[in-house]
């Protein structure tokens, strides 16, 4: 079995994604299964392919105009105090 996914890798990814996990082992198995399934992509013979992108001409982009948003959006958010949004302290 190639690409054995390790518990450490899962822990790192959980940290990267900022999700506290209680059940790393479950994810090790699961991600391993998915990665193995994704290995099928190796058989697709696409090494030399480009990929498609949606295109848009610069002429069709938004005009540079200042349009103030007409509602007091800050009041619709949670955790705001005196018009600031509150976040936990940074270490």
């Amino acid at each position: 079995m190639k690409n054995l996914v390790s518990k450490e890798e899962i822990e790192n990814v959980a940290k990267l994604m900022r999700i506290e996990l209680d059940d790393h082992i479950v994810h090790v198995d699961r991600v391993q299964k998915m990665i193995e399934y994704f290995d099928i992509l190796d058989k697709a013979g696409v090494e030399s392919e480009e990929f498609d992108v949606q295109e848009k001409s610069i002429t069709k982009l938004r005009e540079d105009k200042y349009i103030p948003y007409d509602e007091k959006l800050i009041e619709a958010l949670k955790n705001y105090k005196e018009n600031y949004v509150r976040a936990p302290k940074m270490v």
């Binding site: 200042y66 005196e82 936990p88």
Partner: protein
């Protein structure tokens, strides 16, 4: 052999709106979180809408720095978590699938040294953080999203700088360039930020971050070079690392997070199509680009304006704009002189320039009045001051302040006689020391509020002395 490379972030403050929404690009002066909309605060379901002028202006910057500009632009997501980042990713550019950022492989001449520009990219600024509370328990971070989404152009150079002086010159050239292109006001606080990297004598590269102004960058570079030299002299190897500039203590300190620890999971931004720039648009941009500073300077020199004056005049958009409108074949030198010698000193801040009521017509009229000897060069300065303050027509100012040339011989005779009586010792000295004559002329100017005809005054004094 010192090698310094720079990473400069310039806000496009002269745009009307942010990079991906129609909130104001220049966020200064707003109450906290009063310049926001669903897009720039990353509300669920919001989508970015790219600003056409931002792309145009960024392309002009790239062209001014002699970069290759791609025919297709691509945007990427840089994913990380921080409270000032509304979507917890930044939309930026990368050259991963070919070269598709705003510009690459440019050059700029700094004092005869060619500095290579590796890459220029368009991206969005995050919001701003304020830390509140003193004790361990109460400290909270306050977030203001007014700045989030402000258009940024990031300019990355190769490590071609050899010393701080070249860095300083480059930053000045860059500021003037951005001002001249009318994309940015470099004097606005926070409009230009720069990070650097330094290695000396082939040692490891050290990145310097958290530098908040060009001025601080010089200090940081200087400190870092000294620090590295000191380590080398003691045979201590220089670690490859990121260091932060501590503005309070004026030193660089090792950052706790090592480079490379954060994985940004870069991938293509699916909400923005690849932007095609056809050759017609590119040509129009080239044609619309304001004349470059060096081109202006050369042009001014052909008008017989001294190189130093031409240098100063061409680098300052506010002044060169006035000059362009005010001058003609005959008065170019006088007007250039008026601007650089007198005007620049009078309006030496943005605020003063904003308040100034001076127009190019004033300059033309002043040059005329000097030419026809209606006023002296010295009283022209006074008149200029009045133009700036009141905006009244030059003719009115001249008569109200009684600035007309005093060329009446008898009047001058009387004034000079008075001075001769007041300054007998000086008069004696003047008989042998021609330099002291200037002092006497000065006194005449004082008495006449600068209106005395200098040539006539000199003649009369000389006659009286002999």
């Amino acid at each position: 052999m010192t090698k310094i490379g720079l990473e400069i972030h310039c806000q496009l403050t002269n745009l009307e709106s942010k990079l991906f929404c129609s909130c104001k690009a220049n966020y200064r002066g707003f109450e906290p979180n009063a310049n926001i909309c669903p897009v720039c605060i990353g509300l669920p379901g919001s989508l970015p809408r790219l600003n056409k002028k931002a792309v145009e202006k960024a392309t002009m910057i790239a062209m001014s720095l002699n970069c290759n500009t791609p025919d297709k632009l691509a945007f990427f997501r840089k994913n990380y978590f921080y409270p000032d980042l509304p979507k917890n990713f930044q939309i930026t550019q990368l050259n991963v699938y070919g070269e598709h950022s705003i510009g690459q492989n440019g050059t700029i001449l700094v004092d005869d040294k060619e500095i290579r520009i590796r890459r220029i990219q368009l991206e969005e600024d995050p919001g701003r953080l304020i830390y509140e509370g003193i004790s361990e328990k109460t400290q909270i971070t306050l977030v203001d999203y007014n700045r989030a989404g402000t258009p940024l152009v990031e300019i990355v150079t190769e490590p071609d700088f050899e010393n701080e002086r070249q860095v300083r010159l480059f930053l000045n050239i860059l500021s003037d360039l951005l001002d001249n292109l009318d994309v940015s006001n470099p004097s606005l606080e926070g409009a230009m930020r720069a990070d650097g990297n330094i290695s000396i004598e082939g040692g490891n590269k050290v990145e310097i971050k958290n530098v908040n102004s060009f001025h601080d960058l010089e200090k940081a570079l200087h400190f870092e070079i000294t620090r590295q030299e000191s380590l080398i002299s003691r045979d201590i190897p220089i670690e490859q690392e990121t260091r932060h500039w501590d503005d309070k203590r004026k030193i660089t300190i090792s950052a706790r997070i090592k480079e490379g620890e954060e994985d940004y999971r870069y991938f293509l931004e699916g909400d923005i199509p690849w932007i095609t720039i056809d050759s017609q648009t590119l040509n129009k941009l080239k044609a619309d680009m304001p004349e470059s500073i060096s081109s202006k300077k050369e042009r001014y020199i052909t008008k017989q304006i001294p190189a130093q004056v031409a240098e100063v005049l061409s680098s300052d958009k506010f002044c060169s704009d006035l000059f362009e409108l005010a001058h003609n074949e005959s008065n170019a030198i006088v007007i250039a002189n008026l601007i650089t010698t007198d005007l620049m000193g009078l309006v030496d801040t943005d605020e003063k320039r904003e308040k100034s009521k001076l127009t190019h017509q004033h300059l033309t009229d002043l040059a005329n009045s000097i030419e026809t000897k209606e006023i002296t060069r010295t009283s022209a300065k006074t008149a200029l001051q009045e133009c700036v303050a009141t905006g009244l027509p030059v003719s009115e100012i001249i008569s109200t302040l009684d600035l007309g040339h005093v060329s009446d011989e008898s009047e001058l005779n009387k004034i000079i006689d008075e001075i001769f009586i007041q300054e007998p010792n000086t008069v004696e000295q003047a008989k042998t020391n021609p330099e002291t004559i200037n002092y006497l002329i000065g006194k005449v100017m004082e008495k006449t509020k600068g209106r005395a005809d200098p040539t006539l005054t000199l003649n009369i004094i000389n006659k009286k002395l002999s």
